[in-house]
Symmetry: none
Subunit: 206 residues, 4 copies
């Protein structure tokens, strides 16, 4: 009867637990959610979770890093695309604003989730944030080199881009303004992304 889980089976179970944790934590908040909740959502026993994660906090850290890394990967990929920078920027915004429930849960995590994390993990999270900023800075630099973007402080521009993305994402998540709340066309994320990029490009000067 003794049997060892194949790597594939193991990975499936771990993923199921992480998905459940993402759902439950983003719904109730890390503090309110219980391990039992996660276990129930994942259709496993409480004890099983401890076979794969040493503590509730490690579970939190893991999925936070997962989400962050997912973003980094995706953003780095978009940044590395061929073609003009403006198009890549539109991709970026479309990616963050689009996506269905699962992405929204992830976003909810990113935008508020750092309240219960320990110092050891914080460093990794900041490392990833830095990576993302660097990717954006690189994108700006590429635009300047290609003559698509005017020569200005690339890091500041990266902040402007990143901040705009996050602000729109938050608005979408909490639904606090019309720009995002009332968007309902089939491809509203793309349209919104286009609008945002236009604004970013032209600046505020008349």
């Amino acid at each position: 009867m003794e049997r060892t889980l194949s790597g594939r089976e193991r990975d499936d179970k771990v993923q199921r637990i992480k998905d459940a944790a993402l759902t439950v934590f983003s719904q109730d908040g890390y503090g309110q959610a219980t391990i039992q909740d996660v276990a129930t959502e994942a259709c496993v026993g409480k004890g099983t979770i401890y076979l794969y994660f040493s503590s509730k906090e490690e579970l939190l850290d893991t999925i936070l890093l997962d989400v962050l890394e997912g973003y980094r990967t995706q953003i780095e990929q978009i940044v590395a695309e061929d073609g003009d920078v403006r198009q890549r920027l539109r991709h970026l915004l479309t990616y963050v604003l689009g996506g269905a429930d699962r992405r929204r849960r992830q976003l909810s995590f990113l935008l508020r989730g750092t309240s219960d994390i320990g110092g050891d993990f914080k460093r990794q999270a900041l490392r990833i944030k830095k990576d993302i900023m660097e990717a954006l800075t690189g994108l700006v630099r590429a635009g300047i080199e290609r003559g698509e973007i005017r020569a200005a402080d690339p890091l500041m521009m990266a902040h402007i881009i990143s901040g705009t993305v996050e602000s729109l994402a938050a608005a979408r998540l909490w639904e606090y303004d019309e720009l995002v709340a009332e968007a309902d066309g089939d491809n509203w994320p793309e349209e919104l992304a286009g609008l945002a990029v236009n604004c970013l490009y032209q600046g505020m000067k008349p």
Copy 2:
């Protein structure tokens, strides 16, 4: 014969408790912080806190709203100033980026920890966020009317402003990039604000 706290005395004590809670919550996170920690920091007994707040969560909600309202008030004030809009924008950024420890604690609070908040409070918090967005939108509209800003979607521009501010503030708080981390002149917030406003105005188009 009687001994009832005057309004002033009462307010002082309440403020002491809120300050202590802000300090402790922003340091350890709401979940980790204990009421005893707050009481010790405020130099009062545990029970005293419950004379003024019905629960730990009410204390959290109260200071979160306080901080948010403080920001709203200040921002609305800056937005209502006379003079050109560009100058007001610089003020705004300087205000958020500047400030000493207390302001940093508040920021840390805003940018972290909405993981443990309940539905009733959430509505108020979003109401305030909306107010802030509306104030910014108004500022953009004023700029357009005055011919200082080109005619574009004011709400999108407000997002760009708000996002930029938050991104820079977060960078300052978590110290994850050089732009902010290495700023050390006497008036770096102002200089950074100026730089940001320039970028915002001119846009990315070459």
Copy 3:
């Protein structure tokens, strides 16, 4: 301005506090009732109660003893009356069953209140209970001497009397049977008392 309460004033206040405690304790139970509840009901400050009672428990003990002593006094008085024993028994029952709200609160105390009392007080309470049983025993003995009651164990008869009284009183208090619940004539306590005494006298033998 310094002034000492006259004995009369002092007694009034003590009585007000005891009345309030009787009301509150019998309503909510000693465990649930708070000193603040008692103070509010008595229209005094919390601190004032501690001028006259050293602790919540002493307050409980005091009113329990008060109630018990009131019963003892009343019963000893009835037992000492002139005239035939049967008449005195009717008085006794009428006294316990009759009386308005205040008496009911007292009863509620007597019939359930011994759950939270300490050992030191218990002795006094039992002393009084014993006194009451002795008074009843004496009444039976008097009846036997007068030829009104057949010669049998007087203590057992005292138990029968006392038990009957308590059982009817409890039924009235908790309203769990028709005999008492539906009594509503103007002088139902007397009628019920008469019925009980008849039954007690004639016994069950056919």
Copy 4:
């Protein structure tokens, strides 16, 4: 793979907790007893109690109802016996007065502590008390039909019986009179029961 408590195991544990609670509550009173006391007495962890009872109060209610129901069951059984009513009455008294420590604890419980019970539970408790009174009333009616007992108000007679039993039981519990306190023969409960029944039958009339 699985490990779920069988019904039997579960019942055993629940019973152990209820026994412990009965012991502790009757010793120290509900208010003074702590859940830790009960857990220690039951040789389980504090948390285990909450696996089977949702609160301290539910535990109290449960054992109170258990004890009451035990009495009801036993009394209804005795009442339903064959043979003459007088004999059944003796059984009844012997049952209540006799019994070893466990029964005394139960009695102590019934006669003390209804000071902390809530409204929902109260109804059930009164329902049971009513059932007991009805059983006694039925016994009296049976006696009347059989010609063993004179025709009189059966409910009043039930009160007389019930009151006598309780009065004697209380005397035994608190040991406040000689009738019960000095009883020490091997079968004193039966003798006392016989004496009581004699008195009840013959009445007080000479």
